[in-house]
Point group: C2
């Protein structure tokens, strides 16, 4: 939840990002394929949701290289709701109502539990927006704090809103709020990177998403394995090479950067992955230089992430680099990494060619919108969601819900619909993870 | 489905209708009450939907007199989808997906069955819009015809679209379409005023809404009895006199206008109703003249409807008047009428003071938008949905989903939210009717 973005304003000429012209050909192939097969795709998703209920909510980071469009991160405790286009609030409200119907139908009052120890105003803007949206959906809502705060804490936000974090406490098997509010449902917006929270264990209220979906329990490798299987399954039905939608992944067993254990394995696997990408690029006559992303298998938010374009990039790391890779958010050590095929970001905005990367938001099975992270400094292969990465959010001007079969496959509406399809594929992978981890979506944690 | 509207264009100064200033006081009371109690209202609705699933779709005609805001007609086979604001299409698509999930989760292909024998282009525009929305929601969709048409019929619509009605036939226990399309689900947009359709009986495909919700089986008195009970139940929780949301009704047993049987009963009940309204008006110091509406207990669309401001208006009807009251759509005779408290339309549009009456659309439990019937000729107590009534549709500029507690209770957003609450109350009444008539929403008809 350390998404930071600068106070930079985008130029007035900034409109919708466009793919660099070189890559439009292959992208239109992907998009045309998705648009032409939209009915099969939607029918397939409906069938999947019947067997595998969707997580409560999620955001998915996508990368669009034109010849390849895939997810790189799936967040089950999403932040950034403040970056969505307010015109789609009614869509969010519908989706919240569906999510509650599926996960905790008897809910009346909601308690949002955000990240600990955060004074990041952009994150708090997101929490304030969430609270507003739940209120608009007809739920009385409070924000509680896992920190030891003796009394309510007020935060003045850049938007002019005031956010109040309430002290909460455990009374028997319930969580209660200082002002006497007794929530039916706990909406967790804390990814539990640091492990389970005792306060949330064994309580009678429903916790959504369940604590079992926290990073203490998730594995990116597992997520992307499900994603790959699903991409294969869908692509078979629509006769598309699944590589176009799916980053390759490799797992590297245990690794200890500080003790330099596992380095040889890492080097070998990075080499394998780069070769595999190169083979694919050669076959498709793609002239780019392959790269891989190495990231902590659990946890997120741009710590413990590195890029490599050759095996040399991962051997003989200096102490600073190793320290950086060895620690993730909340100081949890990294002992397992995911090696992921890098996908270039070839979407650019305006005359300055700023790199733009889409983030999609889903509640229940519904895509409710998204925004572009428009990066004003970094390059096309760098990780935009890294510490200190500054971005300007550019809310989508359209929801990602409606295909426009009569419009060009490259129209904004169709491109966003395709993003929605890929994001839902990642959501479905998370639904399968959820089924693995906790056996169902609506069980109290 | 004989909604006709003229090709009149509204003046450029036409914006959102406003209540005549005299009546703002009491309306603000109703609206303030609803906005202040929005959480209780939403929680109550959620609870109700858990026990009584919503019909597949509906439209509700409202009347707003300022001191009273109530439904006057609930259509379970709605037309007029073409009059909705296209910006809310994503909302409709979400709602269709929820409706299908609840009523026929395995659906893939949809067959819309519209009214028979209609060449009304405004109605066909609505059917074409429905088909487009189902397609956008990811369902392959055809429009079938109950008429004996040997081959597909093409209609050029004012919007420039072409609508194709396909011949359909029964093959065993299935309905099939001429082009080989085999639908999973039949979406009925025919209110069955003329009785059951043999073709639709005992088929293995799911029919939504079920044929048991057709006018051959519904009773307005039954609908409004449920509505009254629900308005009482809700108003008790929010401490509001239910009269403000609920038209009084009386039933009059069997009546035969042509044979003049039942006239004495009608006269007596109209008198009783006018007295009851007058008593309420006196208590609340409302200076208007009470009126009642007498309409066929089954069927709709403005045939067999009359207004009365005194008992003299209903005795000694001339032959023409009696003939008009004796026949409803599809020539089905009227033998039972509903006597309903008349609600004035005090919403006016623009400098010309055109009367404007809201119509709200719901799919599943969700309000998805609506429009104002703006009438350029008729008066405030006349039935705008009568044969030959010409109106100009003015789509709502906002969905009716979000209350705005910080805005004035008279703001457009809050007024439309209140309309949404009253419309959902009527939807819930229809859900109870549905439970009475067919025992559940998702059973094949």
């Amino acid at each position: 939840m350390t998404d930071k973005h600068s106070a930079l304003q985008l130029d007035d000429d900034a409109q919708t990002p466009e793919l660099a012209a070189t890559y439009c050909g292959p992208l239109l192939m992907i998009e045309s394929h998705i648009i032409d097969n939209r009915r099969q795709i939607e029918a397939w998703f409906r069938e999947q949701w019947r067997h595998t209920p969707a997580p409560f909510y999620a955001s998915v980071d996508l990368r669009n290289a034109g010849y390849k469009l895939g997810p790189v991160d799936t967040n089950l405790f999403p932040a950034g709701f403040n970056n969505l286009n307010h015109s789609f609030d009614p869509l969010v409200v519908h989706a919240i109502q569906s999510a509650v119907e599926h996960a905790c139908p008897e809910a009346r009052g909601m308690l949002i539990i955000p990240e600990r120890h955060t004074r990041n105003r952009y994150y708090l803007e997101s929490v304030a927006t969430m609270a507003e949206l739940f209120e608009m959906a007809g739920f009385e809502t409070r924000i509680g704090s896992l920190d030891e705060i003796g009394e309510p804490q007020h935060f003045e936000l850049p938007s002019g809103r005031t956010l109040v974090q309430h002290p909460i406490c455990r009374v028997g098997r319930r969580i209660e709020v200082d002002d006497g509010f007794s929530p039916c449902t706990i909406v967790l917006n804390n990814d539990l990177s640091g492990g389970r929270e005792e306060l949330l264990e064994d309580i009678e209220q429903t916790v959504v998403p369940p604590t079992g979906l926290g990073w203490w329990n998730r594995s990116k490798f597992n997520h992307f394995s499900h994603y790959q299987a699903l991409a294969r399954e869908l692509c078979e039905r629509i006769d598309l090479d699944p590589w176009h939608l799916s980053p390759m992944i490799l797992d590297c067993g245990q690794i200890d950067f500080m003790k330099r254990e596992g380095e040889a394995c890492l080097e070998r696997k990075v080499g394998e992955m780069l070769d595999a990408i190169q083979a694919k690029y050669d076959a498709l006559e793609i002239k780019e230089k392959p790269f891989v992303v190495i990231k902590a298998d659990a946890g997120t938010y741009g710590m413990g992430v590195m890029m490599a374009q050759s095996t040399e990039d991962v051997v003989g790391l200096n102490r600073k680099q190793r320290t950086r890779m060895a620690a993730s958010k909340d100081g949890r050590g990294i002992n397992r990494v995911l090696i992921q095929e890098g996908i270039y970001s070839f979407e650019q905005l305006g005359s300055n060619g700023h790199v733009a990367e889409p983030v999609l938001y889903m509640i229940d099975r519904h895509v409710v919108g998204g925004f572009y992270r428009v990066h004003t400094k970094k390059g096309q292969s760098e990780n935009l969601n890294s510490p200190g990465a500054e971005f300007v959010p550019l809310p989508f001007t359209q929801p990602c819900v409606l295909p426009a079969p009569d419009a060009s496959p490259d129209s904004d509406q169709n491109r966003l619909y395709c993003y929605g399809v890929v994001a839902r594929l990642a959501l479905l992978a998370a639904a399968r993870e959820q089924q693995d981890l906790i056996g169902g979506p609506s069980e109290p944690a």
